[in-house]
């Protein structure tokens, strides 16, 4: 197990080098001048000073080396556009907010989705089942921005119960978390229902029941545990996705998270910010997948044995 983890961690290095290289090349390919923010052309001397200051006048391999060194030393350099701020500042200030939002959304999805799926499976083919599945199918299909817009309209504007946007008090955090958590919630519910139904048909469940174990214990201990494997499979990448892909929600609710920065940075050709954030997000996805593999081993000893 340990060997497996070490090997996986070691493998992230070439992956990151490729990520840096691809981001670097693609950013340069799309053209555009990071030092021009408006219709106004930049005077030659000014352009030269800026290029010199941010090392953009160096050959590409030198610039690539700067980025690699930056990533290795965890110093991602200054933003080309937000003068006075470094990429590290931006990550430090805004990334925690994205994580917070992602975690709340994820918890909402888990806490509501898993029980919903369980109930649907246990009440198989009843109106409760149909109701729960209709509900989760609809919400799995509805995009988060629509949920967000409806929440704002009915709860904040019509109801006046919660603020429309911002990210300071707990009241600000309810609607974005729900909006972002809705689709994964529905996904969890369907996954749990599906595997749980399958598990309930297994021989060992029947055996356990035949041995005289109480139904609640069988479900709680054996069925649920085995039904969670697909949830975990989906959860890892989903957590990464929720944290990194919350841009629309961040925009609608005006949350100062990292997603907003990512998109603006691409539009502004803020090379160092794009680079820094891409590497950061790659690391998150890599780590999320690693955690999933480890969790597999805990939930299902067979996979652990196979790899050890």
């Amino acid at each position: 197990m340990l060997k497996f983890i070490v090997r996986r961690i070691f493998w992230t290095i070439p992956v990151l080098l490729v990520v840096i290289f691809l981001t670097f090349t693609m950013m340069r390919q799309i053209g555009g001048n990071p030092f021009r923010h408006s219709e106004r052309a930049v005077p030659e001397a000014v352009q030269r000073n800026l290029e010199r200051k941010f090392h953009v006048d160096k050959p590409w391999y030198t610039q690539y080396a700067y980025y690699v060194k930056g990533v290795a030393t965890l110093d991602l350099g200054p933003s080309l556009v937000l003068r006075g701020q470094t990429v590290n500042d931006i990550v430090k200030e805004h990334f925690p907010k994205s994580i917070e939002l992602g975690v709340y959304a994820f918890l909402f999805a888990l806490v509501v989705g898993v029980p919903l799926g369980m109930i649907a499976a246990l009440k198989h083919n009843t109106s409760v089942d149909y109701g729960a599945m209709f509900f989760s199918n609809v919400f799995h299909a509805v995009p988060s921005f629509l949920v967000a817009t409806l929440l704002i309209y009915y709860i904040a504007l019509k109801g006046g119960a919660l603020p429309t946007s911002g990210w300071s008090t707990w009241e600000h955090k309810i609607m974005p978390s729900i909006a972002l958590g809705f689709a994964p919630m529905a996904l969890f519910a369907r996954l749990v229902r599906g595997t749980m139904l399958e598990t309930l048909q297994q021989d060992y469940v029947r055996t356990a029941r035949a041995k005289g174990l109480r139904y609640r214990r069988v479900v709680g201990l054996h069925v649920l545990r085995n039904s969670l494997i697909p949830v975990v499979t989906a959860a890892g990448p989903l957590l990464g996705y929720i944290i990194t892909g919350s841009f629309v929600i961040e925009l609608i609710f005006n949350i100062p998270g990292i997603g907003q920065y990512y998109v603006t940075a691409v539009n502004a050709r803020d090379y160092s910010v794009v680079m820094g954030l891409t590497v950061l997000l790659s690391v998150i996805v890599i780590v999320a997948n690693l955690v999933v593999d480890i969790l597999y081993g805990i939930l299902d000893p067979r996979t652990r044995d196979a790899r050890a």
Binding site: N49, G166, L251
Partner: protein
């Protein structure tokens, strides 16, 4: 990666959906508040606190590095410029109690007030201005607006020096700024620049406290570190979230400042900003509402619309559309007023010249071009088109990809089709678009869209665009007579005489025999939302600057 690329598209969808949802509720609500407050009269409210949505994070609060209007608006309220602009954009004393221009126009002297103080207790001196200006011009800082100083002797040379090769310090010393004493600042100009005083109201000419910069480096503009000298102080700056100002009771004229606190928000999405305003979370929404929302908001008493010094235009590549008659015909065929009323909807003004309305001397300068009427003259356009020896009937129009620009382009495409011109509209992402256009001008372009917003208050800021060497002239247009007029105007300190020269320059472009290298379409306006309690006193001037010292919250 695929998801990332899709987001901007989604964002647009978001806006339109939100519009659909938000379209029903607002009207009666706003009308309700209107009825109660309007009768109330002018007694100030007990609590003089407002919340403003500035729309974006100010990218920098360093006077040398700031380039955008949000940063400028914060800076001009927490700092004290030498000169402020009054309602008519005339320079009035600010931190300088008086100013004087020498007979030959080459020397400008400012006398500072005695009661100027930094928030750290230091007096504000002439040296603080010199320090700030040389810092901005220095090649090491890499300031975008260093070129604002090029009118000062030696500034361009210093800015162009390469620290690795040249002796930059010597060039810094040669820059034409000098402190005659602590309170007297003398500036030597390369040529007489009649607009220099107005230019002093620009935020790049603010003083900077050297101690703060030395101590905190790049971080000197954070709320905890910032040393300022204006009517307000920076109380809190949470990046991308909040920027709060509080009144500085020690400022020289604090007695006249009514607001005690200005909470700033940075809601960039137009729809979200409107929602926050309608929910009462902001008092002023300085972020222009999305075009689709304007029709509804216009009916509310809280809707405001500010004229601004800006011109929206289409530029010709005069090498590709070489016959002036075709250029005139294409301009004549555009229904400007109808585009404003039905497409852009922001109450913009149809443009019949390049210098925008509101610019000092506008009445003299404006050519009232007959080739650029408010309503299309298709008959005359067709007539002109038929006289073109070798008309170009298939053209490519380049715009940047935003829905507003596309809608206008489609309207103009339809107008040109009446002349038998087949227009292909090509859209590009903004940064790519700018690089694509040039300089040097891209020869595959036939027509392109751009706009120009003035930095300071003189028509030269607009008209110098169309000189042969201008870096912003992507039309290939080059007329030595025009350049000569602009050159002469630069040397003419007398306002009326200079305006007359500007008028002649405009005439070369848009007069009856004008060359029409560009089609003026409209002069910009900026729509916004203001609660009735501040609507009377919260005013943006033509440069989109607001003077918060004048704002009073009515009770």
């Amino acid at each position: 990666m695929r998801n990332k690329i899709r987001w901007p598209g989604l964002a647009l969808l978001v806006s339109s959906l939100a519009l659909a949802a938000g379209g029903c509720g607002g009207d009666d609500e706003a009308a309700g508040t209107g009825a109660t407050t309007e009768g109330g009269g002018g007694a100030p409210a007990a609590e003089q606190v407002i919340t403003v949505n500035w729309g974006t994070e100010p990218p920098s609060l360093d006077p040398g590095l700031a380039t955008d209007t949000t940063s400028a608006n914060i800076l001009l309220n927490i700092m004290d410029p030498l000169v402020r602009l009054d309602k008519d954009l005339k320079p009035v004393p600010g931190a300088a109690e008086s100013f004087e221009t020498s007979e030959d126009g080459l020397t400008v002297t400012f006398k500072l007030r005695d009661d100027l103080k930094w928030t750290n207790g230091d007096p504000v001196t002439a040296q603080d201005f010199i320090y700030a200006w040389k810092r901005t011009v220095s090649p090491e800082l890499g300031a975008d607006y260093a070129y604002q100083f090029y009118g000062i002797v030696g500034a361009q040379e210093y800015n162009s020096c390469d620290p690795k090769k040249d002796k930059c310090a010597a060039l810094a010393d040669k820059m034409g700024v000098k402190a005659l004493d602590d309170k007297t600042l003398e500036i030597k100009l390369t040529t007489p620049q009649p607009w220099f005083l107005q230019q002093m109201a620009h935020h790049s000419f603010l003083a900077v406290n050297k101690k703060a910069v030395d101590q905190f480096g790049d971080k000197w503009t954070e709320a905890a570190n910032m040393v300022s000298n204006g009517p307000f102080k920076l109380a809190k700056w949470q990046h991308n979230s909040a920027i709060d100002l509080v009144k500085d009771p020690n400022w020289r004229d604090a007695a006249s400042v009514k607001l005690t606190r200005v909470n700033g928000r940075m809601i960039s999405d137009g729809v979200t900003a409107v929602q926050a305003f309608e929910a009462g979370e902001t008092d002023v929404d300085a972020q222009p509402p999305p075009p689709d929302e304007i029709a509804r908001l216009k009916e509310t008493p809280e809707y405001v619309q500010y004229p601004s010094l800006g011109t929206y235009y289409y530029g010709f590549n005069v090498k590709n559309i070489s016959d002036v008659k075709q250029r005139r015909a294409m301009s004549l065929a555009i229904p400007r007023q109808s585009i404003i009323d039905n497409v852009s909807q922001g109450g913009q003004l149809p443009a019949n010249g390049f210098t925008p309305k509101g610019m000092p001397g506008f009445d003299t300068i404006n050519p009232a071009s007959k080739w650029s009427p408010a309503d299309a003259d298709v008959e005359q356009a067709k007539q002109l088109m038929s006289e073109v020896a070798n008309p170009k009937k298939a053209i490519t129009l380049y715009i940047n990809d935003s829905p507003g620009h596309r809608d206008i382009a489609v309207a103009i495409q339809a107008a040109w089709s009446q002349l038998g011109i087949k227009t292909t509209i090509k859209q590009q992402e903004f940064a790519q678009f700018l690089e694509f256009l040039g300089p040097p001008p891209n020869q595959s372009v036939d027509v392109y869209r751009l706009g120009w917003i003035g930095d300071y208050v003189d028509a030269i800021n607009f008209l110098e665009l169309w000189t042969c060497e201008s870096g912003n002239n992507n039309t290939n247009y080059c007329n030595k007579d025009y350049d000569a007029k602009i050159e002469e105007a630069r040397k003419t300190p007398d306002n009326d005489a200079r305006y007359a020269l500007y008028a002649e320059a405009e005439d070369i472009l848009f007069g009856d025999n004008g060359d029409m290298p560009v089609i003026p379409i409209y002069f910009y306006t900026f729509p916004g939302l203001e609660k009735l309690s501040v609507k009377d006193t919260f005013e943006f001037n033509l440069l989109s600057q607001v003077d918060l010292t004048k704002v009073v919250v009515a009770g």
